[in-house]
Amino acid sequence: MLKYTLGRILSGLVTIWFIATATFLAMHAVPGDPLMNEKATTPEIRENLARKYGLDKPIVEQYVIYLGNMVQGDFGISFTQQNRKVNDIIQDHFPVSAALGILAITFAALGGILWGALTALYRNQLPDIIIMFLVILGISVPSFVFAALGQLLLVNINQWFNISFLPVAGWGTFAHMIVPSLVLGLGTMALLTRLMRSSMLEIVNEDFIRTARAKGLSPSRIFFQHQLRNAILPVVTVLGPQIAAITTGGFVVELVFAIPGLGRYFVQAVQQLDYTVIMGTTVFYGAFLVFMVILVDIIYGFIDPRVRLK
């Protein structure tokens, strides 16, 4: 097991190196000057800026320097935010996104498993049909509509009852997280609901369920011990990368609810061609993703001992 895990970690590191390299090349290949702004600058000023950020060196040298610093855990200084270290950006904003994301994932996983199991139990009956329509509505309408509607609902509740029921936007307390995390988790919840339903239906007719039923096990025991455990594999597969994606921030939700998460940096950095922030956020996300995926592989073995990875 140890040797296996070490192998995985090694392959993960290689993946991260590839991610860093591909992103580095891509961002230099994209037209546009990271040092250029709406107001034109003289060539002299541009040259000095290039020197400051090390962009005057040949690209191979830049790459080597960058990798060297990255290995030492230094992502450099942001191009667009005055003197701000990319490490600080990640350190300041990742915990915010992570807190929100964990809550969102919890909602999504609990809701998805629950609704999914429910739809499978009541297949083609009213609960199944209702939930399916909600799921379809949910995935057919863009997420910012739900973010905006959620916020509008809060404003109206606060106005009607003339209380500060939940904050409309902002960050700081648990109350700030509730609605944004729901909105953030809804997409995953919808997907998990459908996955859970489909995989539950596959399990229901398996031999071991029939055996368990014949053996006289109570329906609840069959449900929890046999059906749920066997049906949950796709949910785990999806959850791994989703955790990495959601806890590194959702741009739309952060924008609408004024949350200081990491998500906005992913988008802004590319728009502004802020090289160091692009690299920092991408490598961070890549590492996180690879870690989660490896973790999922290990968890497979616990859920279903038949799964062998070698």
């Binding site: 591909a22 489909s198 796709p234 497979y300 990875l309």
Partner: protein, 468 residues
């Protein structure tokens, strides 16, 4: 001892041929034939089939039946909600109007007045129509200017005055012309005298209902009248059953044109990348070990790449010229970047399935990996695959909209449902129809594919037969 009955020669003649015993009572059916039969019996699948046919007709035949130009701008009917056809009064072309100035009245007050009287004589000049509404009033003693507001509901005192249209900073200018996006509805104009800087707390309100009008040149441009027609007659305006968008373009025509892009991208891209993901994940999961590791790390690599950055790069790489639509490059880009989630999901399922007894049995019987994957493993992961496929449809539609927004994908004025949604979201409270219709069509599409997916899952899963 019991004696054997003597065997006769005819005991050794063959029985009469009873072929009928050997015949199967039902025709032999392959897996897929069986699935097809059961699919046809599935109500959900049939409903979905009708929906898909309906969407196809809407997309293909629609533009022949509803021949409005989807990019024609009707600036007289901007953001019009769905309504019956309207008529408008034909008026002469707009001519600028100079508001009256009372030369006998000072422009600026001498000193700062403590109070000002409310404006009197607040009245309409000419006939108010949707081209312009002209207002005039009598000068107020000591006023240094006037502020004019417009509201769609009656203001109560100084509350709800509405839009601040104009701040006039001379006490002797006695007229104002409003042309700001006028509709044929009732407006309440309020005027407040100022000392040139601050507004005083006295307000005069006037109720105006302009008539819908169209100018000669606009009507000619849109072919609504003959050049010989004279102002004063009434003209039927273009009919927009689903309303219009923010530039007065016909929503129905745009939905039909947009369907081409959205359905193409929303159906073809997911189909291809899910298919690719299925085989990729299938092989990775089945082969396992080092190959699996390598393949899955590559999938992680693709997921971790910054999507936006690579889309910009693709746009350059494919050499899409300015203002050109790049549907095929977009398709390729979507496929290249979006397959890994399906691959990972299928691989997870395959890891479980390949350890099942029947796979082992098939392998022992000499099944080759490709046979095992195609014949045994993938059909057993069909449920999961179909779920991802149906989720990929709206995902592709919205990704298309996003890509079009950043200049990759379809170029304006070509619409797509996703970009219509994005535009509609911004005014979803004031003009809900601009969001509702594209969202409705996306929902119908997703519903159709979900139902089809459900139907297929049930039809393809042989074990489900027991429950029918």
């Amino acid at each position: 001892m019991i004696p054997h009955p003597a065997l006769q020669a005819d005991d050794f003649t063959p029985e009469l041929s009873t072929d009928s015993l050997e015949q199967l009572s039902r025709p032999s059916l392959s897996y897929w034939q069986d699935a097809w039969i059961r699919l046809k019996k599935n109500t959900r699948a049939i409903i979905s089939l009708y929906l898909i046919i309906g969407l196809a007709l809407f997309t293909i035949l629609g533009p022949f039946l509803w021949t409005k130009d989807p990019s024609a701008q009707d600036l007289d009917q901007i953001s019009q909600a769905p309504a019956l056809p309207k008529t408008a009064l034909l008026v002469s072309d707009y001519l600028p109007w100079t508001p009256p100035v009372d030369q006998g009245h000072p422009a600026e007050p001498t000193g700062y007045p403590d109070t000002l009287d409310a404006v009197t004589g607040f009245a309409i000049v000419g006939t108010p129509n949707t081209q312009s509404i002209r207002l005039t009033w009598s000068p107020v003693q000591d006023a240094g200017g006037y502020s004019i507001y417009r509201s769609e509901s009656e203001p109560s005192g100084l509350q709800g005055l509405g839009l601040p249209l104009e701040t006039i900073d001379a006490g002797n200018i006695l007229g104002f012309e409003d042309r700001l996006n006028l509709k044929s509805q009732t407006y309440f104009y309020s005027i407040i005298p100022t000392d040139g800087l601050d507004e005083f707390d006295v307000v005069t309100t006037l109720k105006v209902t302009p008539v819908q009008s169209i100018t000669m040149s606009q009507a000619l441009e849109r072919g609504l009248i003959d050049p010989s027609d004279a102002p004063g007659r009434s003209v039927s305006l273009a009919f927009h059953p689903f309303g219009t968008d923010y530039l007065g373009r016909d929503m129905l025509a745009r939905l039909m044109q947009g369907a081409r892009v959205s359905l193409f991208i929303g159906v073809v891209a997911p189909f291809i990348y899910v298919l690719f993901g299925v085989f990729y994940g299938g092989f990775a999961g089945y082969l396992g070990g080092k190959i699996d590791q390598f393949l899955m790390r590559f999938a992680d690599f693709v997921v971790a790449l910054p999507f936006l950055l690579f889309m910009i790069l693709f746009k350059i790489g494919f050499g899409i010229g300015p203002g050109e639509s790049g549907i095929l490059p977009m398709l390729v880009a979507l496929i290249l970047l979006l397959w890994p989630s399906t691959a990972r999901l299928v691989r997870g399922q395959v890891l479980k399935i390949r350890e099942q007894g029947y796979i082992e049995a098939a392998r022992l019987l000499g099944g080759r990996p490709s046979y095992l994957i195609a014949r045994h493993i993938i059909p057993n992961t069909m449920g999961v695959i179909l779920v991802t496929l149906t989720f990929a449809v709206p995902s592709a539609i919205f990704t298309e909209a996003f890509l079009s927004f950043i200049g990759m994908g379809v170029a304006p004025p070509t619409p797509s449902w996703g970009s219509m949604c994005n535009e509609g979201v911004k005014t979803m409270l004031s003009h809900p129809h601009e969001l509702f219709f594209p969202a409705l069509f996306i929902s119908i599409t997703v519903l159709a594919f979900n139902l089809l997916g459900d139907g297929l899952t049930e039809a393809l899963d042989s074990k489900m037969r027991s429950r029918e």
